[in-house]
């Protein structure tokens, strides 16, 4: 049972948490995403194609979103996918997962479950053995955000 005093305290805490979000949060997140991508690709160009990001376009519950990434590649010693990076636009941090593969993978396909904070773009970037980068991005709509779940005691 929550007493009136605790309830009021909660209100204060909640508004304090909100006040911490700066007004230009969109720009900051966009910049963080760009920086995270730059860190991975360096100065290389990221091209569209080869990568297929499979994620439901409408997400009921952002706490566990099934997603899969498949990259077109023969996965031989000479031509294979070295890494698959997944980013989101609207989470507190842009990183989701980085998977390092090699020719022994046989097929460049990974699947996992992610937390998606808000409606926005999810992006998968594949790093090939020849140094090129390919990407796919999907715009998803989230009805229940991952970050708004009930807090613990």
């Amino acid at each position: 049972m929550i007493s009136r005093r605790t309830f009021l305290l909660l209100g204060v805490a909640a508004s304090a948490a909100h006040a911490q979000l700066p007004p230009n949060i969109q720009e900051i997140r966009k910049k963080a995403l760009d920086e995270a991508i730059r860190k991975v690709v360096g100065n290389a160009q990221v091209r569209q194609g080869k990568v297929k990001l499979d994620i439901p376009p409408l997400i009921d519950n952002g706490n566990a979103v099934p997603l899969a990434v498949e990259v077109e590649s023969p996965m031989t010693e000479a031509d294979h996918v070295k890494a698959i990076h997944i980013f989101t636009e609207r989470n507190p941090q842009p990183y989701v997962v980085t998977a390092h593969l090699g020719p022994r993978a046989g097929r460049a396909r990974i699947a996992t479950r992610a937390r998606i904070g808000d409606t926005g773009t999810v992006m998968a970037i594949a790093q090939m053995s020849d140094g090129s980068f390919w990407s796919d991005s999907v715009r998803v709509i989230v009805t229940l955000s991952a970050c708004l779940e009930e807090g613990l005691i």
């Binding site: 805490a13 993978a105 699947a111």
Partner: protein, 106 residues
């Protein structure tokens, strides 16, 4: 000891691409959530998953707070020879878990 589960086919044809699914029981606390009294809950996540096939690394993943609780990671490998696949998860607060699975290649 954390509960971890891996799903590897018991038997495969040589050269066949097999799918491996791994699941670790872990809350993956993001470090961005607050208690009802507004205190930040410290981050506690699994940072890496490494899979080796008869001692050679075949897959490595770096996880971030944006991975859902009880991280499920699935990937593929070529069944080259009979042996064991070892899985190792490591994370914050000294978290470490290992699991192995035997595979027979015919």
């Amino acid at each position: 000891m954390a509960r971890v589960v891996v799903n590897v086919p018991a038997q495969a044809k040589r050269g066949e691409v097999i799918e491996i699914r791994t699941l670790a029981g872990h809350p993956m606390e993001t470090g961005f959530r607050r208690t009802q009294l507004g205190e930040l809950i410290p981050r506690d996540i699994i940072r890496t998953l490494i899979c080796t096939y008869n001692g050679a690394e075949i897959f490595r993943a770096e996880l971030h707070p944006a991975i859902a609780a009880n991280p499920l990671i699935s990937f593929t490998t070529v069944a080259t020879e009979s042996g064991t696949l070892e899985f190792r998860w490591t994370g914050d607060n000294g978290f470490s878990a290992t699991q192995s699975a035997a595979i027979k290649v015919v």
